[in-house]
């Protein structure tokens, strides 16, 4: 393997030519001189396998603008696994962190078996302990498509303190018609077999991630997912931007709100359920932001994003969701062999996501919803030629959803309008 990205930082800068903001326009050294300090990484996304046994129609890794996965080694090597762990330990020690999250990811991370996940988790724990002692809590989870969750795999991951999240787009086979293998065969049977096994280990069951399909009924999707008894659930907007609009929307229909309406229906079903059934991250975050709590998710709010990703070859990247924007969009030009995570904090793409309102376009900053919406997901702001300083391609949808939730809260709490304008 090579120890580092091809072409280094200069080449990495060129790949961002279509995104002058932040890659050419954000002067990070000047930012630091002016007193804006970086926020240490708290979340490390470690790729265990760069391939997937599924080929979902909306996947932002394999079907979007970026094709960098083709040149990655399929499996993470022991060298990368160990070096990533050491870099995490170094970062935890340098910043005195008392809690971090490690997300084992892919592709399909379990293609390398439970062994790789357990070795990676153990390596991080050992490296952090060696660097700082026992004072840092390390939460490890794996995000999987569920098809490889056998009783043995789940038992071993649970015993190793690794929690398991599963991607599923609804609780019926027809909800998952986009989730197929490379021959077009549905993954439903295998995924639900895995979920049945996982349900017997609630201590390891982290929850479900569901990507929205406008062709499905939101109430039916929500109700059917509840049958899998997830403690947590998130409803994800398909990764899209102004250059690659989402299904059902386009530049000429930017003001349409099909995703906002879909989510508002799901919200009402959840909120009016008569009892608390599961945590839905997006709704919880919006409620919190409306009431003045700090945000904790990258989809909404202005909290600094504290996540970084290591590929199977040791290359350090911004998160995968940027792959929907352009070829090499997540690139930093750095790797775990030559660079610390502190080095990565100085990359414009990372720094931009820690600036809060200062990273947003004028239109967003003038919006009365800005502290709740936060400009939406960073990846959804991309427009070819200007970069990531635009309203979200889902702006109208977020506006509808946030105002809907605000009105529901006001009625329940008997308070004056939570939003002005």
């Amino acid at each position: 393997m090579t120890h580092g990205p091809r072409g280094g930082a200069a080449a990495a800068a060129d790949v961002h030519a279509s995104a002058p903001w932040p890659h050419r326009l954000l002067d990070v050294p000047a930012l630091r001189r002016a007193g804006t300090a970086p926020v240490p990484f708290h979340q490390f996304v470690l790729k265990l396998h760069s391939r997937c046994n599924l080929l979902c129609g909306y996947c932002y890794v394999y079907t979007a603008a970026d094709t960098s996965w083709r040149r990655r080694p399929a499996r993470v090597s022991e060298t990368v696994l160990t070096r990533s762990a050491e870099r995490i330990g170094e970062h935890v020690a340098a910043h005195g962190l008392d809690r971090i999250r490690v997300e084992l990811h892919g592709g399909e991370p379990l293609l390398g078996g439970a062994d790789t996940a357990l070795r990676q988790a153990a390596a991080v724990r050992a490296a952090v302990r060696a660097a700082t002692g026992p004072g840092c809590e390390i939460q490890v989870s794996v995000q999987t498509n569920g098809t490889l969750l056998t009783a043995d795999v789940v038992r071993r991951l649970a015993a190793g303190g690794i929690r398991i999240g599963v991607s599923l787009d609804g609780g019926r086979p027809e909800h998952n018609k986009r989730r197929v293998d490379h021959a077009g065969r549905p993954s439903w049977d295998a995924a639900t077999r895995g979920l049945a096994v996982l349900a017997r280990h609630p201590e390891a069951y982290a929850g479900l991630l569901c990507t929205i399909d406008l062709g499905l009924d939101p109430v039916e999707v929500y109700d059917s997912l509840l049958e899998f008894r997830p403690a947590a659930l998130d409803l994800l907007l398909p990764h899209a931007n102004w250059a690659s609009p989402p299904p059902g929307k386009g530049p000429s229909s930017a003001g349409s709100t099909p995703y906002g309406e879909w989510l508002a229906h799901a919200f009402d079903r959840w909120f009016d359920g008569g009892r608390y059934r599961t945590r839905i991250r997006l709704f919880t975050e919006i409620i919190g932001l409306l009431l003045g709590f700090p945000g904790g998710a990258e989809a909404v709010g202005l909290s600094p994003v504290a996540a970084v990703l290591v590929e199977t070859d040791g290359v350090i990247e911004q998160v995968d969701s940027l792959k929907a924007a352009y070829q090499e969009a997540p690139a930093t030009g750095m790797d775990v062999f030559r660079h610390s995570f502190d080095d990565v904090l100085e990359h414009p793409g990372i720094a931009a996501r820690q600036l809060g309102e200062a990273a947003l376009c004028d239109e967003c900053r003038a919006c009365p919803l800005v502290r709740v919406c936060g400009g939406g997901h960073y990846a959804h702001r991309y427009r070819r030629g200007s970069g990531f300083r635009n309203p979200s391609v889902y702006c109208a949808d977020l506006d509808l959803l946030i105002r809907h939730i605000a009105r529901r809260l006001e009625r329940v709490l008997g308070v004056d309008p939570l939003l002005s304008g």
Binding site: E103, R163, G165, G274, Y276, P294, A297, S303, S321, G421
Partner: protein
């Protein structure tokens, strides 16, 4: 907008207007949401208060549990 603080006798202050909900009468977190007669919102508020006490103010990657 400000954040809720147990010691400030406020549960929450909204982005545009103050939303005084109910006092933290006995320093007990339960007292804060006891008057919110909605089971889902009550649990969400409990979780948000818990999270605020013990976590860093950062945002996490969406494609993770």
């Amino acid at each position: 907008m400000s954040n809720p603080r147990l010691g400030e006798q406020l549960l929450a202050v909204g982005p545009a207007r103050a939303a005084r909900l109910c006092p933290a009468a006995h320093g007990s977190p339960e007292a804060l949401w006891g008057d919110v007669d909605h089971p889902v919102l009550t649990e969400v508020l409990r979780q948000l208060l818990e999270r605020e006490k013990d976590r860093d103010r950062v945002a996490f990657y969406e494609d993770s549990p």
